[in-house]
């Protein structure tokens, strides 16, 4: 029996798995959310109309379909609140990603230059914080940043400040929290691309007259761009939708889209508007996601 015959069937079934996953856990729920986004709020259970009655026949279905409208999306465009929180989310995500890149690149670069046996240790050090619950780590930051917290105590003891500073409920606190939480997602893909770079390339660059600085910018950095792209998107996309960190660490004067969504859903019990917010967010992120896909594709080609 040929090897092809042995492996052909299971291989074909295995190829279906990711699509099945996508349909079950993304497309079907997305369909529900989209339908709710097109519905109207109602004081009912569930809190929106129309409801599709699968056994109501063709007439009932048509009547329900006619009740669907784009009103919720029009609301999103007409109300500044939504536009501002989308913009804030994008700004926060962009700025955080930039900070993450600035901090993460040197760390990843340093790790990649370590002797082989130390690289594993460094990698562990990056991953170890994950072993503590994310929420606990954010609460720890509240503790550090609060009025009589660790940060102010240290600053006062060092006589760097004369009175405690306000850290908590500021954008600074939020950025600290975001950068802290997402740093491993930036470092790991960067480290992966940097570590697999052939050191002979740097020698070749030096041999051809490039100073270490030139060699970095002409060779190391361009070759690490796939890692930069992967790291940036891995951070940017979830940060746009981030809810917990801004909710716990930032002030309440400006909200990110995740918080708006939460407000609509839980405080206003306006499921249709919340769904519309989610759909628009998704569409906004499809761009970067497609980009991410392409970066990954290119990375695979390079191998």
């Amino acid at each position: 029996m040929s090897a092809r015959r042995i492996f052909a069937r299971p291989a074909r079934y295995a190829a279906i798995a990711p699509y099945l996953w996508m349909v079950l856990f993304f497309l079907v729920p997305f369909g529900f959310v989209l339908k709710i986004a097109l519905s109207q709020t109602a004081i009912a259970q569930p809190p929106y109309v129309p409801l599709f009655d699968l056994w109501g026949g063709r007439e009932a279905t048509r009547a329900a379909l006619e009740q669907l409208s784009l009103d919720n999306f029009r609301l999103l465009i007409s109300d500044n609140l939504y536009i501002l929180s989308y913009l804030r989310s994008l700004t926060v995500a962009l700025l955080s990603t930039a900070i993450l890149l600035l901090i993460g690149y040197p760390i990843a670069y340093g790790m990649a230059r370590l002797p082989q046996r130390w690289q594993g240790v460094a990698m562990m050090l990056v991953i170890v914080p994950f072993w503590t619950s994310f929420l606990i780590r954010i609460y720890a930051w509240i503790n550090i940043l609060q009025h009589d917290g660790l940060l102010n105590t240290v600053l006062l003891k060092l006589h760097l400040v004369s009175a405690p500073l306000v850290w908590l409920s500021t954008d600074t606190a939020m950025y600290i929290g975001i950068v802290y939480s997402y740093l491993p997602f930036m470092i790991l893909p960067l480290f992966a691309t940097l570590a697999k770079q052939d050191p002979a390339l740097l020698e070749a660059a030096a041999d051809l007259g490039a100073s270490p600085r030139q060699a970095f910018w002409q060779v190391t950095f361009p070759l690490s761009l796939p890692g930069v792209g992967a790291g940036a998107l891995l951070c940017f996309i979830p940060i746009v939708g981030e809810f917990v960190i801004p909710d716990l660490l930032a002030g309440s004067n400006a909200v990110m889209i995740g918080q708006t969504l939460w407000l609509e859903f839980f405080t206003n019990r306006d499921w249709p508007v919340a769904s519309a917010v989610a759909i628009v967010l998704l569409v906004l992120l499809v761009g970067p996601l497609l980009l991410y896909e392409r970066v990954q594709h290119r990375q695979l080609e390079q191998r």
């Binding site: 052939d198 020698e203 070749a204 660059a205 030096a206 041999d207 051809l208 007259g209 070759l223």
Partner: protein, 409 residues
């Protein structure tokens, strides 16, 4: 034959360049600037002088006291088995390793403090180390840009280099869109573009298949001859070294064992190790006996008394090996008649053929002597219809004293 290179030094004096496109190597701009403040080197100073260089990795002496002079325009090969230190020596010339002891003088100036990117030396890397994100053109232009050359000059030089390595039309391709041979050419063009005083080549042909390797060997030789540049090539392949180099330095365990022209290396190796490393050899171990008229009698264990043309007279009973190359060992059905008179003209032994390998151009035989030792002989198939010997045939194995060498252990 002494181990001193002076006796065997044959410098390939470069001809005037035939190609108007490429001028002979000029001193690199950086080197000129740096060297101008230094005293002028003595006129008979070689281009490159390596003096007692030692490189240690931990306790391991990768390069163990190597001294060597290389003159301008030479095609020099460092030959040795893997791990012999030849690549480390090359990397010290490029500046990637710093010698622990000794000096490396380029144009009479110690280049130890000169960083790799400031040396007027370029290297072609073993696996080419082409920049994967840059096109062929940008790979070749990389070194020129770093030297601050004007854009127009860069374009001219790149075009020259592309033509030199026959890669016209490939300028826009990335390295992964090239074949192995094409990549090798890009690497060569890139390392030549800055017109280094010395080009270092680390196993330049190792990644090519046999056919391509042979044609590339000749292209490299032709190129070196045309550019009048000094090439130092590191290789583990003795055929490659013999074909290309004007001089070969054989290295073993961090030491330079012999520096000689390919012919001298093959015909007069200075040690048993080199005789065995370079080409094939039959060795008869024995002790020095009487010497008469420039002929030394060596009583060997496996071949009886063997006469060797040897002007020196080592003390009697010294343990030596008599070396004879297989192509100098002849077979015949009857013992040859000695020409002239006075003692034995030939060394004759008898045995039975145990193996015949027909290789096209030549046929190799293994003959089991009556003493039990096996002697290899190879004979050129100069005619189509050969009266060949066959297995288990009894033959006389003979060779002249002039073709033998006495090697001390």
């Amino acid at each position: 034959m002494t181990e001193e290179q002076s006796s065997s030094e044959v410098s390939a004096e470069p001809d005037a360049p035939e190609s108007p496109a490429i001028e002979p190597a000029k001193p690199h701009a950086v080197a000129v600037a740096a060297a101008s403040s230094e005293p002028q080197p003595e006129p008979d100073m070689p281009l490159l002088r390596i003096e007692g260089v030692v490189k240690k990795f931990g306790n391991f002496r990768a390069v163990d006291g190597v001294s060597l002079d290389i003159r301008a325009g030479e095609f020099f090969a460092l030959l040795g088995p893997s791990g012999c230190g030849k690549t480390t020596l090359l990397r010290m010339l490029a500046g990637f390793e710093i010698p622990d002891e000794g000096r490396i003088l380029l144009n009479g100036r110690d280049i130890a403090p000169v960083l790799p990117h400031e040396r007027p030396v370029n290297m072609m890397f073993q696996n080419y180390a082409l920049f994967p994100h840059l096109s062929v053109r940008d790979n070749i232009a990389f070194g020129l840009k770093r030297a601050g050359m004007a854009r127009a000059d860069i374009n001219t030089r790149v075009a020259e280099m592309v033509a030199l390595v026959k890669l016209e039309g490939m300028e826009k391709r990335k390295p992964d869109q090239l074949s192995g041979g094409q990549r090798q050419r890009v690497a060569l063009a890139r390392s030549l573009a800055r017109r280094p005083q010395v080009l270092l080549l680390d196993e330049p042909l190792a990644a090519l298949d046999k056919k391509l390797r042979e044609s590339t060997q000749h292209e490299l030789m032709e190129l070196q001859n045309r550019l009048g540049m000094t090439f130092i090539v590191v290789t583990h392949d003795q055929d490659e070294a013999m074909t290309m180099a004007s001089r070969i330095g054989v290295m073993d365990a961090g030491r330079l064992e012999q520096v000689a022209t390919p012919r001298d290396l093959y015909e007069t190796p200075t040690s048993r190790w080199i005789a065995e490393f370079v080409g094939d050899v039959n060795l008869f171990e024995g002790q020095v006996g009487a010497s008469e008229g420039g002929r030394l009698a060596v009583s060997t264990r496996d071949g009886g008394t063997v006469y060797v043309a040897e002007p020196r007279t080592p003390p009697a009973r010294t343990a030596v090996s008599v070396a004879i190359r297989p192509e100098k060992v002849k077979l015949s059905r009857r013992a040859p008649v000695a020409e002239g008179s006075g003692g034995r003209a030939f060394n004759c032994l008898e045995g039975v053929i145990t193996e015949v390998s027909y290789l096209g151009g030549l046929t190799t035989y293994k003959v089991k002597l009556d003493s039990g030792a096996v002697v290899r002989s190879s004979m050129a198939n100069t005619t189509r219809i050969v009266d060949a010997y066959s297995v288990s045939q009894r033959v006389v194995v003979w060779f002249t004293p002039d073709d033998c060498l006495v090697l001390e252990q």
